[in-house]
Symmetry: C2
Subunit: 438 residues, 2 copies
């Protein structure tokens, strides 16, 4: 693999708030520290330069993952607009753009405003835009920033009509790009049949004074990520429907632009998405767009499982460079050793995702040379808001004040617990701190 | 009940960041709006002046709850240091202080820094302070702010020794106030027996150059909040142990100050806490301190259940003024109507607590005169990060673009999803917006 571009990480905007004592994960500071001056502080997590809990991202793993995805995209000829909702961290968006991302995906009007404010020029909102104020705000923002390309979804005629009306009444300088969303029975949003989606695409085409039909979209991310034959069949069926829909709409001349976007979005089946959508036969040019958000930090539980399934399905791809690495860790202190078989750790639901519980990975006692692997038998039983109940063997070495590094499940619901996170080198020295904008 | 003091709500500090387009819950703004100028914007949620989802607090219910707690404290002769970790919102802390709160409780060194930065003068950290940096930061902050009274817990001798050492090496101008924590088998932190707690209290007394033994603490908040005889027996046993411990330590002259703090902390059994701890017989003066955080907004599920149990136990108290009211609502749009029996709503785990699922309470279609009650049969099935799956009857009136107000379960894990929340009047006009500091 090509060498990762370390310098691509982290370009704080001059107007971002400096770090202060009231940022979770920051030490008490005599004066605010601009984000651009964090490395110069030479903070080291293991030297106890930071209060805990703290969220750290291992920079080498992050860059490795970014590079891994670039190689996958090069091989598959697909493009990525990584889902920004995962991290809401422009410092990481910058890395993703530097690594060739086509754009940034967002989920909500709020996230669109963040992406626009941070200067991203191609923003894909993987939802319908709902509501008077959100529609007006988006039209106005696009009027003020003619260099921003914006895309959103429709699955409902009344919504498409309201959107067209907002474009007209907002004196928009150009039509809004929309993709018709195809769903599946029991799924989330999206038209439930190709016929209904096609009917909507025709209606959108009829509103081409205000809306440009830019492509076809689907979301396979809620289908079980275990790679089972049933799951793969369901993913395949959705993607086949998208291809049929796109080919028919192309035949009927419903698309407005020279290039048709075909996009599907989860973090578990992008290989299948790239292959299936890549096989669509259109008269116009097409661009296959995946939207994985979680690959960039990966995780130790939820997407680690999905990666195992990928290893079975596509061993050469999954194992390239050793595969994706879990980059995000939450470090916390042993807070109490109240009973022989129990330790209480100083972090909780305020700090980490908990649909699946975190894993105790690394153990460090201040003064030791380096962290070691947590011995077996240390298992997270449950989390309270600010505490973790850890089951431990009676001969566990843990004492109050020891540090534990936890692997997470589900990056999205861990990132949103932190307004400031730290990038660290292999010695847990902080090389940068960045803000999230949830 | 005395009339609530509406003017006590919301005193933004001049240095708090103004509202901008990148704040979730804010509309796109041509220029930043200082928090002090929000009311003048005359935003109305039902007029679609804000993008959704948005978190709103009904001001009348908030003030009612604050007053309800004041009346309870007047009657019980207990004091409150409301748990700031619930809201981390100085705007609400201000209300609580104006309503007579003795101090603010925090859970972590970070939360202590927030409380100190916002000028609160009595801060109770309901945890041990762990780690070199947190100890040094707290000692330094207290040196710089001699007007701040700080209290924290100990349940471990090595931690007490490390804390004493930090006090000495930090050239602290005064000893640190600590309370010995009593726990219970199977619980969270805290010494598991009165004997062990007493032994620790004696050791703390021996370190009185650096540590002042200020009281006794326990936490009953993890005991089942259903008010069952078993739960009440467990709560009673912990509190009885605290009383024995306090009386013995008092007899032995272990307390440093003229006044002994007796504090326990959840949001379900404060009536029992006030009564049991109020009966302790000490030679010194005592102050009974409860630390409920959730009463201020209450909720529609978790603490609504606890309130039902209180209604059985103490009907006069629970029903005073009609009892606590659910003040916090999340409003969101119907995002998609993909199947007859399903609506997708535009909010998710990013926006609301989900240990128990939220309740669809209010339905509003833009243009209607006022919200009405959601018809029966509309049930939240599950939440994704940014979406809610709502089961609906086939004759449901919901269409894309309708607005739904959801009641929440567990305020703590809803507040932390929002950096900006709105206070609204009875017509859902925004009277103030405030920031949280998680």
């Amino acid at each position: 693999m090509t060498k990762p571009q370390a310098n691509a990480v982290h370009a704080p905007r001059p107007w971002e708030a400096p770090l202060t004592s009231i940022d979770k994960g920051a030490p008490a500071l005599a004066a605010p520290v601009p984000l651009s001056e964090i490395a110069a502080q030479k903070w080291n997590v293991l030297a106890e330069d930071l209060p805990l809990p703290a969220a750290v991202i291992r920079q080498d793993a992050l860059l490795h993952n970014s590079q891994w995805m670039r190689n996958f995209l090069d091989d598959s000829r697909a493009f990525i607009a990584p889902h920004g909702k995962t991290t809401m961290a422009p410092a990481l968006f910058d890395l993703q753009i530097a690594d060739g991302a086509w754009g940034i995906t967002v989920a909500t009007p709020h996230q669109f405003q963040v992406a626009a404010a941070f200067g991203y020029k191609r923003i894909f909102m993987a939802n319908q835009v709902i509501g008077r104020r959100a529609m007006a705000d988006i039209v106005e923002t696009l009027n003020a920033h003619p260099d921003i390309e914006f895309f959103c979804l429709v699955d409902d005629l009344s919504n498409a009509e309201a959107l067209a009306q907002a474009v007209r009444s907002g004196n928009a300088k150009r039509p809004l790009n929309v993709l018709v969303e195809l769903g599946y029975a029991g799924g989330r949003t999206g038209c439930r049949t190709v016929e209904r989606a096609l009917a909507l695409a025709r209606k959108v085409h009829a509103m081409r004074d205000a809306l440009d039909l830019a492509g076809i979209e689907g979301f396979e991310g809620l289908i079980k990520n275990d790679g089972s034959p049933e799951a793969l069949a369901q993913v395949g069926q959705l993607l086949d429907g998208m291809v049929t829909l796109a080919e028919t709409a192309d035949n009927e001349g419903l698309f407005s632009a020279d290039e048709v976007l075909l996009s599907a979005g989860g973090s578990a089946y992008y290989d299948v998405v790239a292959r299936k959508l890549g096989a669509a036969k259109l008269a116009r040019a097409k661009r296959v767009l995946i939207r994985s958000g979680c690959y960039i930090t990966h995780d130790s539980v939820l997407y680690a499982r999905a990666q195992e399934a990928l290893r079975v399905r596509e061993p050469a791809l999954a194992n390239a460079g050793g595969g994706l690495q879990a980059a995000l860790e939450i470090w916390a202190y042993v807070q109490s050793r109240p009973e022989p078989g129990k330790a209480i750790i100083g972090f909780g639901k305020r700090d980490i995702s908990y649909d699946d519980l975190p894993l105790a990975l690394k153990w460090f006692r201040p003064g030791m040379a380096a962290p070691s692997t947590v011995p077996t038998g240390h298992t997270v039983l449950r989390l309270n808001d600010q505490h973790c109940h850890l089951e431990i063997p009676e001969n566990s070495p843990l004492v109050v004040g020891d540090m534990i590094g936890f692997g997470i499940s589900h990056p999205c619901l861990t990132f949103d617990k932190w307004r400031v996170m730290h990038l660290v080198d292999e010695n847990y020295q902080v090389t940068a701190s960045f803000r999230t904008y949830f």
